[in-house]
Structure formats: structure tokens, C-alpha cells
């Protein structure tokens, strides 16, 4: 046919080049082209932004939009309250995250137990996970946040926010348990065989060989779940204003001032946390991918 044969890919990945590729994700794609490339990028960005801004500002409703959503006076009046509330969101997140990590791992291990004697434990874990994963999180927060305090059980906390947090815990631990389980199942059976052949018990095999490998593998998906959890702390707003998380404060201002700027302040708070977390997750994923390639090259 006269076409040149396809180039043979190098057997050993060039690590140096892959590092450059990584750096070039956003900023560096024009690096190879030098100063000229940078100038072109700046110019094209300015033109693009200019056109975009011109379209937005000249649109007939722009003044109304600006007044309703990007009102600087409203922002400076409401943001301190929103920020104050946001610390409650962070607080809830920091308390729930370690609990979820531990509880979900317990569930995943229960679900991974083999043999007829463990059937009830395995079945319990499966029912739990199916049940709580199948219910909308907002419904769980509402049910627990209003339902349990209404029972007035002596000795238990009555705060709606506490029980709303329990709802989040139950929902998220079911999700995270499935992430762990995927990790456990991804560890090859030969690892179990090697550990058992040395005389390690089933429990010791899980503890020393399987779970450590599984957890390392699922760090990126776990981080994604925690970005979601961070955002879902806003669901606690439905259990009542006295807890006063960020969305609550934003809503209160919005309803009294008939202006949405305060809610954009809430959005800003979440973005400041979630965007760096997302980038960090990408970074961890990329690092794992490179490790695998480096390992395969040897």
C-alpha cells in the first residue's frame, strides 16, 4: 500500500517526558513554542474575554443581574455571616470524615468475609449498603434531623443538626464502603494465596496484605467522595436555622434583602475548598499512574 509502518511505541516509558506532559496540562501546552506561543495565548485570551464581557455587559438585563447577584454592598454586608456559618460546615465535615472512613472500612470488610459461617454478617452489610445507598441523602438528613429529636428519647442528643449529621454519616458510609470493596476486590487472589500459604489467618491476611493495598488504590475515589461530602454539609440547612451553617445564613440574607448575592458568597466558600481538593485528587491520580508505569518498566 506504500504507507509507512506505524512507529513502534517505546517499551520503557520516558519518565522525563511524562513529567513535562504533566506540567503542561494547563499552562505549559504552549511552552514548547516558546515566547511566541505565550504571546499568542495571551492575545487570544484577551480577545476571547473581551468579546465575552462585551456580550454580557451589553445584554439588556445585565444591570438587573448585577444588582441581584453581584452586588458588592450586599456582599460585604452578608459575607461575614456566611463565612462564620461556613466554619460550621467545615467543622461537621472534619468530624464526619474520620468516622465515615472507619465505619465504611468495617462495612467493606464485613461484606468481603467469605464462608458460610459469616453469612449473617455479610448479609447485614449488604442490606445496610443497599438500603442507605438507595435513599436520597437529603431524605435521610430530614428523617434523622427531624424524626429522631421528635422521639424525645432520654439520654440522646436532641439537636437536629446532630441527627442530620448522623443521616449524612449513614449515607456516606454506604457509598464509601462500596469504594473500599472495589479496592479489596481489585487485589489479586494470588496475594491472598501467598499470605495464607505462610500460615497467616484470614484476619491477618486482610489486615496486613489485602486492606493496605486496597486502601492505597482507592485514595482518589475516596477523595472524590469527600469533595461531595464537603458540599453536602449544606444539606444540614434543612434541619433548621439554629445550627447556622453557611447556606442558612445566605438564605436568611437573601430572604430579608431580596438579593441573591449572599448565596454567591456561599458558593464562593465551597469553591475555595472543593477546587483545590479536586486538583489535589488529580495530582494523586497522576502520581499513581506514573508509579504504575515506572513499576511496569522494570
Amino acid at each position: 500500500m506504500g504507507t509507512a509502518p506505524a512507529p513502534i511505541p517505546p517499551v520503557i516509558p520516558d519518565l522525563r517526558r511524562s513529567r513535562e506532559e504533566r506540567r503542561s496540562k494547563i499552562l505549559g501546552s504552549f511552552k514548547a513554542e516558546g515566547v511566541r506561543g505565550v504571546l499568542i495565548a495571551i492575545l487570544s485570551t484577551l480577545v476571547f474575554l473581551g468579546v465575552l464581557i462585551a456580550i454580557v455587559i451589553n445584554s439588556p438585563n445585565w444591570l438587573l443581574i448585577k444588582q441581584q447577584f453581584f452586588n458588592s454592598r450586599e456582599f460585604s454586608n452578608t459575607f461575614p455571616y456566611v463565612l462564620h456559618g461556613f466554619f460550621h460546615n467545615i467543622e461537621v465535615f472534619l468530624m464526619l470524615e474520620p468516622l465515615i472512613l472507619v465505619f465504611a472500612l468495617l462495612l467493606a470488610v464485613m461484606r468481603s468475609l467469605r464462608g458460610p459461617i459469616f453469612f449473617p454478617i455479610r448479609a447485614l452489610a449488604i442490606v445496610y449498603i443497599d438500603f442507605f445507598r438507595g435513599i436520597p441523602t437529603i431524605l435521610l438528613v430530614y428523617l434523622f434531623g427531624f424524626g429522631v429529636p421528635a422521639l424525645q428519647i432520654p439520654g440522646l442528643p436532641h439537636a437536629g443538626a446532630f441527627w442530620g449529621g448522623v443521616g449524612l454519616l449513614l449515607s456516606y458510609s454506604a457509598y464509601v464502603a462500596e469504594v473500599y470493596r472495589a479496592g479489596i476486590e481489585s487485589v489479586h487472589a494470588s496475594q491472598t494465596a501467598a499470605a495464607r500459604s505462610l500460615g497467616l489467618t484470614r484476619a491477618a491476611t486482610l489486615r496486613f496484605v489485602i486492606v493496605p493495598q486496597a486502601v492505597r488504590r482507592v485514595v482518589p475515589p475516596l477523595m472524590n467522595d469527600f469533595i461531595s461530602l464537603q458540599k453536602d454539609t449544606a444539606l444540614l440547612s434543612i434541619v433548621g436555622g439554629q445550627f447556622g451553617e453557611a447556606f442558612n445564613h445566605g438564605q436568611i440574607s437573601q430572604q430579608s434583602d431580596f438579593n441573591f448575592t449572599s448565596l454567591l458568597g456561599v458558593a464562593l466558600c465551597f469553591l475555595v475548598i472543593t477546587v483545590p481538593m479536586t486538583r489535589f485528587t488529580d495530582h494523586v491520580l497522576e502520581r499513581q499512574r506514573r508509579r504504575r508505569m515506572a513499576g511496569a518498566a522494570l
Binding site: S190, A194, S197, F208
Partner: protein
Amino acid sequence: MNLAIRAESIHKRFDDHEVLRGLSLDVEEHEVICLIGASGSGKSTLLRCLNLLEAIDAGRIFILGRPVTGRGVDQNDVRRHVGIVFQSFNLFPHMTVLRNITLAPQEVLGTSRSRAEVEARELLDRFALTERADDYPDRLSGGQQQRVAIMRALAMNPDIMLLDEVTSALDPELVAEVLDVIRELAAGGMTMLLATHEMGFAKDIATRVCFLDEGVILEEGPPEQIFSDPKQERTKQFLQRIVAAGRL
């Protein structure tokens, strides 16, 4: 005369495929037995059954005179006496070489960490991998990984070693270093069962060669007899194929 292993008419079936069909084998202490035979003849399955990684469907197995099949057997106790090394090494990738070796002595035998590490370093010295103690397995060559896997099994001070085609996954230039380790074990009197495709090595090292065919030992004898004067037609055919492939 003490029997290290006695297998009496063992059967093992995977779904509808019967891999072992009434195989019997007696192994005396300090014997080195090479299992040869085509892929699928049951060599690996036999070794896995002897380490109790697979439960047999019928028959009996005795290790060091004690029955290990049937009810009430402490499998983990049996495995302390029977080490196995796999074709694909199966080192624990998240642990250093040293930790790979010390894990089982610490967690199974209850050896103290310092004692286990001293013993592991002695093994590493003996097999010339001292400087690799703190590396992770993915930094090692295949031959080095397999030597570590052998040390990991040896760290439990087993009475019997089972080696399942331990050089089959290695590049040709790395085979010799692993075979040297096995030679040293044989010289030290270790009772061993090897499934192997290295016929030249089997000829050298074996006290007895067993030819497996369709889940039974079709023919067995000293290596000179099996390799130069096989009695069974199937053995002859198998060896001819090996010679044709340039492996003997």
C-alpha cells in the same frame, strides 16, 4: 524411614474438570522430587493441595506423619511446616523486602520484631541480597524477587518446600540465580517438591522424577532412568517434544 509427605489417591475437580484423578505419592525426608509433565497435567494443583490452598475432593494427605485432610485440621499449623513458592513470585508490593520476610514469623510464630529482622538479614546475606533489604519489590529484577519469595518461605523454617515452576516467569538470563538458590537448599537437605520445565536442572538435582499425565503419576524413577530410558509411551512422547523444543 520417615515420610515427609504421603498422598493417597487424591482427587481434585474444578467445576466439571477433574485435574487430579487418584494421584498417590510418597516423599521421604530430604528427597528432592521433580514433577514433570505437560501444562494441565496437575503439577501445580498437586502442590497447591499439599499446602492446603486447595481442598481435595477425595483421598488423604499426611504431612510429617499427621493427617491434614478431613475435619479438625489446623490449616495454618500445617502451612508453617510446608512452604510454597509461586511462579509469579506474589511478593507483597506494599512492603519492603525485609518486611515481606519478617511478616509471617512475627504474626504467625510470634517472633519478636528484632529477632525476625536479624533472621531475615541472615537469609538476605546468605543469598546475596543484603543491600536490597529496604527496597520495595518493584525495584527488584524478577530473579531477585523470586529469591526473596523463596526467603520469605524459608523464614518460617519449613520442613518441606514446594516450588511451583519458580523460573517459568523469568527472563532466561535470570533463571540461573534462582536455580542456584534451589541447589543450595537441596545440598542442605531440604525436602523439596518442584514442578519444573527445566529438564536439565531436574536431571541434576532430583533424587526422583515423577511424570504426571492426566492427573496421575504415570511413571516415576531416578532421573537417569526417566530421561534416558522412559518405560511409558506417553513419557517418551513428552520428552521427545521437550527435546524438539530444545529444552533438554
